[in-house]
């Protein structure tokens, strides 16, 4: 078991290095002086020269690469010329907004995906199954940014049910005193129920839009797993013991179906990371996604580069955690099969 974990860990570290090499190669493909690109067209030649020296331009490629990754892992993420701040500061500042959105969306997505997959499988009625499947197809085919637009048009413009693209709280309200940076949590902690409600309402539509791709995927995956597991003989045996349908389903089918679904965790994160870039802008959400979006438009490559590397690291990390979790939870992996008489 320890050997398995060790190998997996090594694999992840290797993947991260591979990713950094890939990112390095791609970013260096940019035409022009990388230092100039990072600093922008307005920087002085002197600044460009000093940065060039710093990142090792003109030195052998492996020196450049070494500086590249050591800078990254030390948190030296460069400077955004268009925003006048260090990239690190910008990212740290805007992280809570995206984190709150991602958490909210995740909970929302998971709960509804589970509920619907259960409904589709347990009810045994082909109509329900068909509706859920249809919804998941449409969900997959709707790009998050388009859904964001549709949601806004429907809930905001037409029916005035929910707030529009005015960020986390809208222009009027003031944010609660900062504890975690998550407005909902902070508002609750400070007892500001009105603010909590406002923050909550503003989170609804973006969460839906962000989660749609993962939701479709999860519903389909869970449904397939549930169907497969329900047909296993041990479910029949459980029923043969006298268990009722739901009890047998709950105790034996669910855990066995959920287990392989765990591995989708990494993919969900991937969708969220990319999705945030797409939809935060639609909602004027002041998170990392919109930061990156603007950076792309302004050609502020320091930010873009850092985001790409961070995404890779997070992606690899989450996949690693999920795999390890799986190894811990599944007794077949945790306890090796030893032939016994």
């Amino acid at each position: 078991m320890a050997r398995v974990i060790g190998l997996r860990l090594l694999g992840s570290i290797g993947a991260v290095f591979g990713a950094t090499i890939l990112a390095f190669v791609i970013m260096r493909l940019l035409p022009g002086n990388p230092a100039r690109l990072i600093l922008g067209p307005l920087a002085t030649q002197h600044a460009v020269n000093s940065l060039s020296q710093q990142i090792g331009l003109g030195r052998p490629i492996y020196v450049q690469y070494w500086r590249y990754i050591s800078d990254f892992f030390q948190g030296n993420w460069g400077y955004s010329y268009s925003d006048g701040e260090t990239v690190k500061k910008l990212i740290v500042e805007r992280a809570p907004a995206t984190i709150e959105l991602a958490l909210f969306s995740f909970v929302f997505t998971m709960l509804s995906a589970v509920a619907l997959a259960l409904l589709a499988t347990y009810s045994h009625r082909p109509v329900t199954d068909r509706i859920v499947r249809g919804a998941s197809y449409i969900g997959f085919g709707t790009p998050p940014f388009f859904l964001a637009l549709l949601l806004l048009i429907f809930f905001f413009k037409t029916f005035h049910l929910l707030p529009g693209p005015e960020g986390r709280l809208g222009v009027q309200a003031t944010p609660p005193p900062k504890v975690t940076g998550l407005y909902t949590l902070d508002a609750l902690l400070a007892g500001q129920l009105g603010t909590f409600w406002e923050a909550f309402k503003h989170l609804l539509l973006p969460s839906l839009a962000l989660g749609i791709a993962s939701w479709s995927f999860l519903v389909r995956l869970l449904r397939a797993n549930l169907l497969e597991v329900s047909r296993e003989p041990f479910i029949t045996v459980a029923r043969g013991k006298g268990l009722r349908r739901w009890t047998a389903f709950r105790r034996h089918a669910l855990p066995n179906a959920f287990l392989p679904t765990l591995t989708a965790g990494g993919l969900v994160l991937g969708e969220f990371l990319a999705g945030s870039v797409l939809i935060e802008r639609v909602f004027n959400w002041p998170g990392i996604g919109s930061l990156v979006f603007e950076a792309i438009i302004k050609q502020d490559y320091a930010i873009v580069q850092t985001f790409i590397l961070l995404s890779a690291v997070m992606f690899v990390l989450v996949n690693l955690i999920v795999d390890l979790l799986y190894a811990v939870i599944d007794p077949r992996v945790r306890i090796p099969t030893v032939a016994t008489a």
Partner: protein
């Protein structure tokens, strides 16, 4: 003709239990453990309706062992599930009466059946590698079987019962092994656990659907011997579904031959080997390799294929393959009804137009 003769069975016979007959002997208890009348089950998929179980009737006396034999696709497993009320969509039980311990369980709701399953009637399935939940301990799964019917039982007591059951099925270090997971057990051990789960609450009827088919030959013998001992001790009636006639002759008292969803012949086990009434039963017996007949030529096979249960021909469903009925219009037009016939080794119920004739021929 007997294929194998196990000493235990002979001993039971000599002890005077009159199990070898289809009719209850005079003076034997008329209280049946299980009585099935007119059970029919269909599977409705897409355009086709598959008639898996067609008008099946049989009786099972307490401690009697009935073997149900048939090819794959004959409806044996569907029959087992139908009796237990475990047929799931797109299948459903069309009709039938299932009297267990005096009441008709076919009419019961799923919730009511829950009190019956595992308590009065239990199930053992074919494949031990998929019959147990892979992420739960063996102990938990045995305790579950007990706790469903005795919810007030304390954990420690339940655990002790589970350990006792493991010992009963010859699994050593029972206490420790309760905390193991199914993948840590061998196939034979898992099947023994499945049996332990089935007999946990002392059911009066046990349905075993090909319990040894997935095991190697040595383990098969062990498991069968175990089953033999357990059902004797617990005085359980058994329905043993199998395609292996050797097991039937060793283990069972009576046998029912299933073909295309119907029980085409039901009789005491001696009868079927001595004088099979139905041509299908006869053909099945001929298919079994017999060293005494090596010089007769190649092993006979039954020509043709099992019928498509969604589009059955009129008349006798075996007719297209029947050496007798293949050419006869009567067999293709009229569905044979169960005939009660008396043969050299007892009574039998046969669904063949020529049942009487065939039995008489054997006698002569």
């Amino acid at each position: 003709m007997r294929l194998l003769r196990a000493p235990d069975r002979a001993a039971r016979e000599d002890a005077g239990d009159a199990h070898g007959q289809a009719e209850p002997a005079a003076g034997a208890s008329s209280e049946l453990a299980l009585s099935v009348r007119g059970l029919s089950t269909v599977y409705e998929t897409g355009g086709a309706t598959v008639h898996a179980v067609r008008d099946v009737s049989f009786d099972l006396r307490p401690t009697e062992r009935l073997g149900i034999v048939g090819e794959s696709g004959s409806g044996k497993s569907a029959l087992a599930l139908s009796i237990l009320g475990l047929i799931e969509a797109p299948g459903r039980v069309l009709d039938g009466e299932i009297v267990l311990g005096g009441r008709d369980i076919a009419r019961l709701s799923d919730r009511q059946l829950g009190a019956v399953r595992g308590k009065e009637i239990a199930l053992v399935l074919q494949d031990p590698s998929t019959a147990l939940d892979p992420v739960k301990t063996i102990g938990a799964q045995i305790v579950e079987a007990i706790a469903v019917h005795e919810p007030q039982l304390r954990r420690a007591a339940a655990r002790k019962r589970a350990a006792d059951l493991l010992r009963e099925v010859d699994i050593s270090h029972a206490e420790r092994r309760l905390d193991d997971y199914p993948h840590q057990y061998s196939g034979g051990m898992r099947q023994r656990v499945a049996i332990a789960i089935a007999i946990a609450n002392n059911p009066s009827v046990l349905i075993a659907d090909e319990p040894t088919t997935a095991l190697d030959v040595t383990t098969q013998a062990q498991v069968l011997a175990l089953l033999d001992r357990l059902v004797d001790e617990h005085r359980t009636a058994v329905i043993l579904i199998t395609h292996n006639l050797g097991i039937v002759s060793d283990f069972c008292d009576s046998v029912a031959v299933m073909y295309a969803g119907r029980l085409v012949e039901t009789s005491g086990v001696d009868h079927i080997f001595l004088a099979p009434g139905h041509p299908y039963s006869e053909a099945l017996l001929k298919c079994v390799p017999n060293p005494e007949r090596l010089t007769e030529g190649p092993l006979p096979a039954i020509t043709g294929f099992p019928p498509d249960l969604s589009s059955l021909p009129t008349g006798c469903s075996f007719a297209p393959r029947c050496p007798i009925g293949r050419e006869l219009a009567e067999c293709h037009e009229r569905t044979p009804q169960p005939h009660r016939v008396s043969g050299p080794a007892g009574e039998a119920t046969v669904e063949c137009h020529f049942a009487e004739q065939r039995i008489r021929e054997v006698r002569v």
